[in-house]
Amino acid sequence: MLFQPVILITDALFFALTTVIFVFVMIARKKEHLRRPWGKVIKRTTGAVALVVLICYYSIALLDSMHFRLKLENVTQSEYQYSNEILSVLDVLMASMRTQVEKTFSAPLAVQLFSKEMVQQDDGSMQQIYPRLKYGGAHLDDPLSEKSKDLVKISIRAIVMAILCWAGFWLLTVWRNSKSKHSSFSASLQRFVSGDSEYPLRAIAITTGLITIAIFVSMFVGSKYHLFGTDKVGQDVFYQAIKSIRTGILIGALTTLVMLPVAITLGAMAGFFRGWVDDVIQYIYTTLNSIPHVLLIAASVLLLQVYMSNNAEGFDSLTERADLRLLFLCLILGITSWTGLCRLLRAETFKLREMEYIQAATAFGVTKSNILARHIMPNFMHIVLITVVLDFSGLVLAEAVLSYINIGVDPATHSWGNMINQARLEMARDPAVWWSLTAAFIFMFTLVLFANLFADVVRDALDPRISGSE
């Protein structure tokens, strides 16, 4: 074997979540009552565009979750030995950006370091100059005159290739559409261009086009230059921002995954059984809710830090340690965020159990657990889904704030919060080092913005109160 797969705990959970989503999509496609509201989401332009962007982020996170160890080369054939470093598929795809480490800060697309250094000239004299970068634009002989021309050349090549790929894909789609609808290719193409289709295909095509161009340009330019510059230790900022996607998505997705079972069972039980069960559950979530969330998270993470520093020998590698901390953060965030959903579900179950069909089920002698599972839970699932998508963006934002206060993910984990935390003091430099913050801002803003837009569309489509009035 050339490599040894490594499955971290968060990877396993993330794969499990992906499977759940996949199965749900498969089931929903066959059932009309599930397909209709989701079809509504995709038919809205905002919903479709947001979904495309979110799928892109999710795929990057998924690629970044496939971890493995490479086989060491200089070992004899008979024994297998693997490197200690845990890599992901994304690391391999972005290998040039990961390995091309400069000495220290350099501006976006720069060919020189950010600060002057004493360098010995050819004639032996010392001089203060901006030294050339080891990798950024190293292929140029005379950077001053060639750089802009070179950049334009690379970008144009990237854009042309991107457009070719994109156009090929969409022409194929239109062609297949025309086959299945038995209409001519040109008529289908005309309908596609004018945006006359059941689903907003044109908007989706434009979004995917822009994304393809962005990916191609960043890969082409990124292999020769540092697209967003380098940070204090010379690491490529663009690479860091991309690696942070996994952390952001994981925090948003896994937190809901761990809190859902608790919120659903307790919420349904409180509303269905009432009496002392209701009292106890209400007491638990009111108590948890009374504690300011930031402080509860801070307290829990502090205690985790103490535990980890006292049991440092229990962790095999830094990656595993950082991974455990990420998982724990998700758990803590889950503990603080299930209360809201639980209260909503309790109120909804209260209402549902008085419905005639529940009375009918009781009269037929259906057991209580069966009524809960088959008649009540499916009827409040829309609330669960709405809450999940609404909470997602808030959790991504929360991660940044928590990492800033040093109670978020491990400092070794790539995350937007850590990037901001490390870069914010550099703004005070003159001239300011702005690129780390800008990169973190762009990637985080895009994710949160489209998650918010998507959440709005999902709420409009799934909430029977709103969709009924349309």
Binding site: Y283, A298, L302, A400
Partner: protein
Amino acid sequence: MIAYIVRRVLYAFPLLLGINLITFVLFFVVNSPDDMAKNQLGQKHTTAQQIEDWKRERGYNLPLIYNEDASAGAKFTETIFYQKSIRLFVFDFGSSDSGRDISYDIANRMWPSLTIAVPHLIVGLLITITFALLIAFFRASYIDYWAVIICVALMSISTLFYIIGGQFIIGKLLKVVPISGYDTGLDALKFLILPVIIGIVGGIGSGTRWYRTIFLEEIGKDYVRTARSKGISEQLVLFRHVLRNALIPILTGVVVVLPLLFMGSLLTENFFGIPGLGSYTIDAINRQDFAIVRSMVYLGSVLYIIGLILTDISYTLVDPRIRLS
């Protein structure tokens, strides 16, 4: 009314007890005082004697719940649970791990927090309500559509960027006000403007969107139709009828956060170097001072519960249809 308030306050006690138990379990059972001592003193070259000393100085050398060595009643009072947790009930916070009196610090640092939080709340509320009312006036038009999208975009920007960007543009590029710091008296004004403005701008997106939905809900009600059918102009309908009735959910929503204003804002105070309770908490978190974090958790919970009680009372004050039972 008084009977209701008394009952609500009595309700709060089991909650406080629960919070106390949670903090106790978190701070003393999950990690023993020994762990904390080791963490504070460093991992290496720490003798058992040093740990014992550290614990004795801070009163952590007692048994957790039950003290066998003590006599009669002291069996329960000479314990960490009684000394550190039960005493929080009477707001006896004790001293921090570095030896300072926590109650004194809290009383001192409360005021800077309030000088930021109160103008932030009032001015922010006025601005967001105005915006929301304007959007509601232009409802179902392109102005409404784009205003909502702008609100969502503003919501999607992390608070960190508002603060860093605001500091950079207003403080560093334009040099209008100092970037951070604090002073007493009127001199404090120039330090307060920037954090208050940034706080308000950061809250506009979510605030406006939230109040817009409240206004729209109110506009769909029967009394508004009646008012319109009487021939009242749209402006009057909005300002006289809709605004007044929408103020009920808005105000009661604000009452919840009123007591929490004392706690200040963690991020703002930390970034702007304001010596309030927010930065006190952050400093404690960074120094791993568990005594302070524990006190702040308790204080925050108490203030939140007070806020809930005040909300219930304010409902009856602004809406006579709601009767206490």
